[in-house]
């Protein structure tokens, strides 16, 4: 578009600027919005600063890290921290494992939790409230208290890892992909979130589908679930994030380095006597990349998801 073309409409509608000015709300009405933006910018900065600090620290040399007061920017941008950090542990293997486990958890959780959520929200059955309360109750069990029982269950799975039909004699799911993926494949929070979303959908949709002869699974899969995309994005993102950051369970259940995950690799930078801060920050930056990318892709639905479910 040329400059002439750009200026033409303005020339033809001379009073427009005046009209625009008069259309603007008065300052007194804009002030609260301005204040809101200021607050939001401040909070955003507060949230972003640790992230930027992590990246900046990952590029500092040891003497730079030791300087007091600490400088904002590195005196020498030490990009070598990244390749050197990757030599601390087999990060390629760890990254692959984390990715596979996170994708596995996310896919299974989306399928199973959406089904469970749908059933609790849309299919009346005796005891549904009790079942739902039971699901909520499991969210309140602290993780650490579950570790040992969960370990024993994984070890005693029948017919796996040399176990007999009573789950004896072998190691079950220990040191296996089964043990890494199945125990985290369904979360009560995801069931809760899906239930809330399915509850918010109008009953008329379901009834119309039923009149058209659609079965229950068809209503779930073809009518209702496509309408809860924000829930899918939210659950998907939260599950992936939680799985990606999981440290203790993969450490406990595996002894083979080939099955270890990225968070275990990052712990190599943190030892009781010494922390390799620059490497730790470099490794953490790299480990954060998939999560940031995923959030950027799904952020619109993610925000809707939280807003619609009433969780803020």
């Amino acid at each position: 578009m040329s400059a002439d073309q750009l200026s033409a409409p303005g020339t033809a509608q001379a009073p427009a600027p005046v009209a625009r000015r008069s259309a603007r709300p008065p300052l007194t009405r804009r002030l609260p919005r301005l204040a809101l933006h200021l607050v939001l910018i401040t909070v955003s900065l507060a949230m972003a600063v640790p992230f930027f600090w992590m990246i900046i620290t990952s590029l500092k040399t040891d003497p730079d890290l030791a300087s007091h007061p600490p400088g904002l920017l590195p005196r020498v941008w030490d990009w070598a921290n990244y390749p050197e950090a990757l030599e601390y542990a087999p990060f390629g293997t760890y990254f692959r494992n984390s990715l596979l486990i996170s994708i596995g958890h996310t896919a299974l959780n989306l399928v199973m939790a959406s089904m469970a959520g749908y059933a609790l929200a849309r299919i009346p059955f005796r005891g549904s409230t009790v079942v739902f309360m039971g699901v909520l109750a499991t969210m309140m069990i602290p993780t650490y208290t579950k570790i040992v029982p969960q370990y024993l269950i994984a070890k005693g799975v029948p017919f796996f890892g040399g176990n007999d039909y009573l789950g004896r004699g072998g190691h079950g799911w220990l040191d296996s992909w089964w043990g890494l993926i199945i125990p985290g494949a369904l979360t009560p929070f995801a069931i809760f979130l899906f239930r809330q979303f399915y509850l918010s959908l109008p009953r008329e949709l379901e009834e119309a589908a039923r009149i058209d002869g659609m079965g229950e699974f068809g209503i779930y899969a073809r009518v209702m679930t496509p309408l809860v995309k924000p829930a899918i994005a939210t659950v998907g993102l939260l599950t992936f994030e939680s799985s990606w950051n999981n440290f203790l369970w993969p450490l406990i259940i595996t002894s083979d380095t080939e099955l270890r995950v990225i968070q275990v690799g990052l712990s190599a930078f943190q030892q009781a006597d010494q922390n390799a801060w620059a490497y730790l920050m470099a490794g953490t930056t790299l480990a954060t990349v998939p999560m940031v990318a995923l959030f950027l892709l799904a952020q619109r639905y993610f925000v809707q998801g939280f807003a619609n479910s009433g969780i803020k």
Binding site: D62, A66, V148, K155, L248, L251, A272, Q274
Partner: protein, 429 residues
């Protein structure tokens, strides 16, 4: 050494482990002898919280390849973990009925695991061990007359000072005792407009318990006597009072001036003249301020009042009481704690080799804090001593903090701590 703390998880998991241990998974107390098995082929499982980095894994792989040359039928499956999660790994493997054959663990861990029947008596006499290690280094592996652990590497908490800062103040030698340390600390403290810019003595960079204990030992106090806590004795109270004086009375350091795990200790930055710290400070200086090493500006000194004392932590090799291959497992324990592996493991971690033969090695002599510690191991004290130690030790920090923050007197803090410890011991009895 590790006195690595993961308070919540450790306590809970250990509790759970102990509960489950009451069942079929664990046998009764007393550290049974391992099941008898002959030599020959065996597949051993080794759990290690050291060697966990890539370079450490590479080193261990090569060391185990050498072990296999002498024991061709023995294969070793290594499970690498870190100290912070060692207890969880041990607890789950034990209650799961799949204990490791050989386990590396820290000082203070032997009594709890012996009492649970997890560890086997290695059957090595004290005198035999003392031909390889300093007698003080042997001590943490011995419990109720049995030898359950052999040391691989050590770490220490000692007095560390900046020679250049003392010289600037006209002080020619480090403090001889805790009284002099306090006096020098006062003299070397610098405040600008009321704000602390240089602490005369830094007592906050190290884990608070690991700072207090050598101070307590130097004052003549002890942790336990006949299995009962005595860390509320007059000597122990005096030691905590010394720390309170550093912070509250003489204001040599402000609480919050630094903390354990800070990127760099104030001593390296010139923001502290002296400190009670880890021998690892040498490595930290060589990486962050190499001029301190090149110009010989860092030295060690003993904490001393009624007796000289340094804190000794370490990693020990132990054998499972449940191993099906006791002969091969014992051979692996001896190899890992022997003269070949110990120096290499220590160097890889930046720690102190446990074996006497490494005392004059190039690595030890090239690190003045490590060589200082090695030369003073006769004055080493170790924490632990009772089966409930792993739970009791988590109670130290809040009690010490309470005194340092002025919420309670040193005597009250330690009395409360001793009562808590007695309750924990009684619960486990």
């Amino acid at each position: 050494m590790r006195t690595h703390t993961s308070a919540l998880s450790r306590r809970r998991l250990l509790g759970l482990g102990a509960a489950a241990a009451a069942g079929a998974a664990l046998s009764a107390c007393g550290g049974p002898a391992p099941q008898q098995g002959g030599g020959g082929d065996a597949s051993l499982r080794l759990l290690t919280p050291i060697f966990d980095r890539a370079d450490g894994q590479k080193l261990l792989t090569s060391l185990l390849a050498d072990f296999k040359k002498d024991h061709p039928g023995v294969s070793v499956q290594v499970d690498y973990t870190e100290y912070g999660k060692l207890n969880e790994k041990l607890a789950t493997s034990i209650v799961g009925g799949q204990p490791y054959d050989v386990m590396l663990m820290g000082v203070g861990w032997i009594p709890p695991f012996v009492e649970k029947g997890v560890l086997a008596d290695l059957g090595t006499s004290r005198s035999e061990l003392e031909s390889t290690y300093n007698p003080r280094v042997v001590e943490p592996g011995i419990y109720e007359g049995g030898t359950y652990g052999r040391p691989i590497l050590l770490d220490t908490r000692i007095g560390i000072y900046r020679k250049d800062i003392l010289a600037e103040a006209g002080i020619g030698a480090p403090p001889k005792d805790m009284t002099e340390l306090m006096e020098m600390g006062k003299e070397l403290t610098v405040r600008e407009g009321g704000k602390l810019t240089r602490a005369g003595v830094d007592i906050l960079s190290n884990d608070l318990r690991q700072t207090y204990l050598p101070v307590m030992w130097a004052h003549g106090g002890d942790l336990f006597a006949d299995g009962k806590p005595v860390f509320d004795s007059d000597e122990a109270v005096e030691a905590l009072q010394w720390m309170v004086d550093v912070i509250r009375t003489e204001k040599i350091e402000d609480y919050g001036f630094t903390q354990k795990g800070a990127v760099v200790a104030p001593l390296i930055q010139g923001r502290a003249a002296m400190m009670i710290g880890h021998n690892d400070m040498w490595r930290q200086a060589s990486e962050s301020a190499p001029e301190l090493i090149e110009e010989d500006r860092i030295g060690g000194f003993m904490l001393n009042q009624r007796r000289p004392a340094l804190f000794q932590g370490g990693t020990l090799a132990t054998m499972s009481a449940k191993t099906k291959h006791p002969e091969q497992a014992k051979a692996l324990v001896e190899y890992l704690s022997g003269e070949k592996v110990s120096p290499q493991a220590a160097e890889q971690r930046g720690n102190i080799p446990a074996v006497l033969s490494a005392a004059d090695s190039e690595y030890v002599r090239g690190n003045k804090l490590i060589s200082f510690a090695v030369d003073n191991l006769d004055h080493a004290f170790s924490e632990g001593g009772v089966p409930a130690w792993l739970e009791i030790r988590e109670e130290f920090k809040p009690a010490l903090e309470s005194a340092l923050l002025g919420k309670s007197s040193p005597a009250d803090s330690l009395r409360g701590l001793a009562e808590t410890a007695e309750a924990i011991i009684a619960k486990g009895a």
